[in-house]
Every structure is written in structure tokens, then in C-alpha cells.
Amino acid sequence: MTQPFTSYDVLLLWHAFLTTFYLSLCGGALAIAGGTGMGLICFSRARLFAPLRLVVGGGCTVVRRIPFIIVLYLVFYVSGMSGLDISAVTVSILAIGLIGSTYITEIVQGGLRAVGSDKIEVARTMNMGSAAILRHVILPQSLPLIVPPVLGYLVLFIKDTALASQIGVIELNQAGIILTNRGLPTFHVFFTILILYFVISFPLTVMIQKMEKKLVIS
């Protein structure tokens, strides 16, 4: 196979690859942080959090039903209208973090709830405090239920970053379009792009499968 890419093209691809990686990493981290926080709020029974629970719970159900591309545009326009001067990359990360955290909230909350109330009651009779119950009773049992699906969603977020191309971020998909428009052979360009996505995504997929296998055995 002839090498169709010039060194400039390779550099473009490399930067695009890094951008995709950066978007995935930051968006994913934001989603995990937000999702864990909101999941804990939804799980807690504290009276103080009651109104917050309602807002977070309702917000998540609604936001999860808006397509990512619309969320992306909304964040883009809202930040523009409110006069915030943030880059398209930041907008993309915020949008991924926002959508992602609504999914992760659900998983975290579900995982925490999956621990039987009888076990929590046993811990209460042993005079354990809320924090100790969370740390020693709930988390050890719920983390195995939470971590694999959260990683599963991270794989999805990696693929969502491709939509950032729509607000002008030069990530992998956009690089593919640029190179194609410049007249490079389409098949080679997109084959390369898909492989590069695969390189980021596949190791994570394998890791999840290994974790799930381990869980089934134990």
C-alpha cells in the first residue's frame, strides 16, 4: 500500500488523535465526578437534600433524553449568550460531562440501592454510622455493580466526541473530513480514522470484559 499521507497530514492526524483522547479523558472525568456526586445525593435519605434530590433526579431523566448534538449546541449558544469566552474544546467537554453525568448518576444510584436494606439494618444494629456503613457495607458490594457499566459508558463517550466536529473542534472525525476534502483517498483516510478511534476504545472494552468475567466467577 502506498503511503498517501504527507508529514503535515500525519501531524494533523496526530493532533486530532490527541484532541479526541483529551476530550474523552476530560469529559469522562467530569461525567464521573458529576455522576458520583449526583448519585450520592439521590441515594442519600437526608431531609436536607430532599429538594435537591428532586431537581437532580428530574434533571437527569430529562437531560438524558436530549440528543448529544442538541446538548452540545445548547451549551455552545448558552455560553456564547452569557458572554463566557470559552473554547469549542471546553464546550465539548462540558457537554460530554453534562450528558455523561446524567447516565452515571443513574448507575451509581442503582448500584448503591442494590445493597439489601437488611444488610444496612444489620450494620445499624452494630452501631455503625452512615459514613462507616457507606464505606464498609455499601461500597464493597456496590462498586462491582457500578464500575463496569460506568466504563461501558466511557466507551460511548469516546464515540460521542466525534460530534464535537460539528462545533469546529478538529478531532479525529473532523480531521478525516478535512483530509478527504483536500483530495486524499477517502477509503484510506477513514480507515485510518476508524482505526485510531479503535485504538482508544478497544483497550477499555477489553478491560470491561475482563472485569465482568471476574465478577461472574467471584
Binding site: 436530549i66 440528543p67 445548547l74 464515540k159
Partner: protein
């Protein structure tokens, strides 16, 4: 034009947007049904080691679930005309979504087949059903029942996913929203109403599907 929000003009165009929503539902429904058939074939090929198609089916699923749907469709969109195949944007996206979703649906179906009690296989075998009869009469109906919530969930994901068809010029809900935004200069208003329409659409879809559950 001021910075206040002006919804009136956008609301006048609501029928136009609703027409786009109909197109979105149509796209999602067609892609889902075709993907379900294809996904079923993939799932059985992956589960029955005797098929010989196992590595090909697994490879297909690994590839399509580890690369973005958007880039997959772009690749198709650019490459198919070079092979002399000219498809309309709608058909291109439909095809792309079908292939992509079939990989995800096959994962759901494989999980369901894995959860089918072994006694079902044994009873079907001793009753004399052949492989095709066993799957069509016993395994698939059972899997569709136990995996119904997951399939329902994926349909909603696909319904929301149709929004990227706009990038290829399909005039579904998001495509019409862009057009409306460009002629009214009211991007935020248009987008927020579009968001509400998607939320309503997906709620309705999952409600409707849940109420159809007893038919399965």
C-alpha cells in the same frame, strides 16, 4: 434584535418541526427493526460455535462498537459513491445506523441467550426441535421477553441518535431545527424547543413500548 427570548416565531413553525420529528421516528423505527433481524443473526452466529461464522460476527461487533457511528457513516457516505453506489442521505444514514445498531443489539441478544435456562435447550432438544426451530420457537421469544427493557432502552438511544442524520442533510427534527435557526436567527429558542420535543418523543416512545410489552 435584542437579547431577550422570543419564542413566538419559533412556535409558529412547530408543525414544520413536528414533521421532522415524524421523520426521526421513521428513521429510528426502520433502522431498529432491520438491526434487530441482523443483530439476531449475529448473536446466533456468535453463540453457536458450529456456525463457522463466529470470528467474522465477533469481529464485526467489535469493530462497530469501538468506533463512532458518525465516522462509520462518513466513511460509507464518502466511499460508497466511489464504488458506484449512490444512495440518498436518508438511505445512507439508515444503512449506517442499522449496521451500527445491529452490533449493539447483538450484544444484548447474546446476553439474553446466555441467560436462557439450560433446561430450555435440553427440553427443546429432547422434544426433537432442530436448531432453527429451537431458536425461532423457544430461545428468541424468551430472549425478546427478558431483554425487552434493554431493547426498549436501545430504541430510545437510536431515536435520539437519529439527530446526527442532520449532518448528512436528512431533514429530520434536528435538520429542520438548524434550518429554522438559520432563517429566524433564534438559535437558542429553536434548540430549546427541539430539546423539549426530543424529551417528549422519547418519553412517549418508551411508554408506548412498555405498554406493548405484554404482546411479546
Amino acid at each position: 434584535m435584542g437579547h431577550g427570548l422570543h419564542y413566538q416565531r419559533v412556535l409558529q413553525a412547530l408543525p414544520y418541526l413536528l414533521g421532522g420529528a415524524g421523520e426521526s421516528v421513521m428513521l429510528a423505527l426502520m433502522a431498529f427493526l432491520m438491526a434487530l433481524v441482523l443483530g439476531l443473526g449475529l448473536a446466533i452466529a456468535r453463540m453457536e460455535s458450529s456456525s463457522g461464522l463466529r470470528p467474522a460476527a465477533s469481529g464485526f461487533v467489535i469493530f462497530f462498537t469501538n468506533t463512532p457511528q458518525l465516522s462509520q457513516i462518513f466513511a460509507m457516505f464518502y466511499c460508497l459513491p466511489m464504488a458506484g453506489i449512490n444512495l440518498s442521505p436518508f438511505v445512507s444514514v439508515l444503512l449506517g445506523m442499522t449496521l451500527n445498531a445491529s452490533a449493539y443489539l447483538s450484544n444484548i441478544l447474546v446476553a439474553g441467550i446466555g441467560q436462557t435456562p439450560r433446561i430450555y435447550h435440553e427440553a427443546a432438544d429432547t422434544l426433537g426441535l432442530n436448531l432453527r426451530q429451537k431458536y425461532m420457537r423457544i430461545i428468541v421469544p424468551h430472549v425478546l421477553r427478558i431483554m425487552y427493557p434493554a431493547l426498549n432502552n436501545h430504541f430510545v438511544i437510536m431515536l435520539l441518535g437519529t439527530s446526527m442524520a442532520s449532518i448528512f442533510g436528512v431533514e429530520e427534527l434536528t435538520g429542520r431545527a438548524y434550518y429554522l435557526a438559520s432563517v429566524t436567527f433564534r438559535s437558542f429558542e429553536v434548540l430549546s424547543i427541539t430539546a423539549v420535543l426530543y424529551v417528549a418523543m422519547s418519553f412517549l416512545a418508551s411508554r408506548l413500548l412498555m405498554s406493548l410489552r405484554r404482546l411479546v
